[in-house]
Symmetry: C2
Subunit: 243 residues, 2 copies
């Protein structure tokens, strides 16, 4: 890339694929930090250092098409965050995937909020389908780590999907509240929420119970579950009358 340094860079002829990807990068960067209403095609052209007609040549559908293409790219990036080796305690794997997810939320703050708050001018059944696809991918990754001997039943699937929705809600609240608490605290707390939600379902569903028993056998006393138990036990110590 050394020939790209200096004033000739802007005039280098890009291939169709390179140009498209350059325009998408510029659009994604703008849509990440502003509500879609606040991004114009002129902004994208300016950010990419090209003319407005050139943007239209690549995206004849204008802003809507650019938005959907940028969302598709962002969704692919996000799905990559979920990949995690099937190794070690489940809470540690979940924590690492959450670290990457929350970093994505942090980096795409305004766009993430606008997309998930709903009611945006660029929202269509296609954008909704893209977002739902990411949710489905997240659920499949989590279920895969459970290494189930049979397909997941409705209670286990519902618990996983509820937790994913709760993570989204927490991410939106976190953005609304000036990114508080710090990300590592938010991550630990979301992992703990997962642990207790799955444990509560285990009380009603044998398949989930088997997952919990196996997951607990992989945990060490210094892991997330041990810490959770040590924090919560003193709070519920006076509840012996319920047994």
């Amino acid at each position: 890339m050394t020939q790209a340094v200096g004033p000739t860079r802007a005039y280098r002829r890009l291939s169709v694929e390179e140009r498209r990807s350059q325009l998408l990068d510029a659009a994604l960067n703008l849509f990440a930090h502003r509500a879609p209403e606040e991004v114009s095609l002129d902004d994208v052209a300016e950010a990419a250092g090209v003319s407005r007609p050139l943007v239209y040549r690549y995206f004849p559908g204008g802003k809507q098409q650019l938005y959907e293409a940028a969302l598709r790219t962002a969704a692919d990036d996000l799905e990559k965050c979920f990949a995690e080796p099937q190794d070690g305690p489940l809470t540690r794997r979940l924590g690492r995937a959450l670290d990457r997810y929350l970093a994505f939320v942090d980096q795409h703050d305004a766009g993430f909020s606008a997309l998930l708050h709903g009611g945006s001018v660029v929202e269509t059944s296609r954008t909704t389908a893209i977002v739902d696809g990411v949710r489905r991918a997240a659920a499949e990754h989590i279920l895969a780590h459970m290494e189930l001997p049979e397909p997941p039943g409705p209670r286990l699937r519902m618990t996983v999907r509820m937790w994913i929705t709760a993570v989204e809600a927490a991410s939106l609240i976190w953005l609304d509240e000036d990114k508080q608490p710090p990300l590592d605290e938010l991550r630990d707390w979301l992992v703990e929420q997962f642990v207790v939600q799955i444990a509560a379902t285990a009380g009603r569903d044998p398949q989930t119970a088997a997952v919990v028993v196996r997951a607990l056998s992989l945990e060490g006393p210094d892991g997330a579950v041990g810490e959770l138990v040590r924090r919560v036990l003193p709070v519920v110590a006076d509840a012996a009358h319920l047994l």
Copy 2:
């Protein structure tokens, strides 16, 4: 109302308020059971037994205006579900409010799905604001039952809002999965999810811990928490190595 019986009924002159409310009832009934795309102004006129121009006289904004007015009415009805006397164990109060909420979901199935799945043609920032208003009202009702001596802090609020989002997600999945499991099982399970989510947060937040201690003191051994503990303890019995 005896004079309304018989063939003259359809011709009785309604007041402006009565007519408006009759049109809204017809619209709400249609929007409850079909996606908004599948409801036309002609359908509303036919269901109300009036002409299409009459519908336009009351709702000059056409279908969009009717939809938003019907949603406003449904949102008011739903908020009424949340009212519950501050008496008895918190889990029992929550269970009763959930019974009413889930009955509402059951009765407005297709409309509820279409509204919350997003990407609908009638979705605007106004419809989103109405839905957010219902969520806020639900959170305020729950927090009011905690009778806090000081305003709720961010962790407690976040936990309550996450659970509300999770309830919405569970309702949508329940509708997608042919209304399985039965409503009383879904209710008990959602109450249990609330209990464990708030208990996990209690491990990190003194305000939430105080709420949990007080809530547990109101519970009896036959209540929701006692049952949950008895169901889950056998599953986690082998986890003594974490203590």
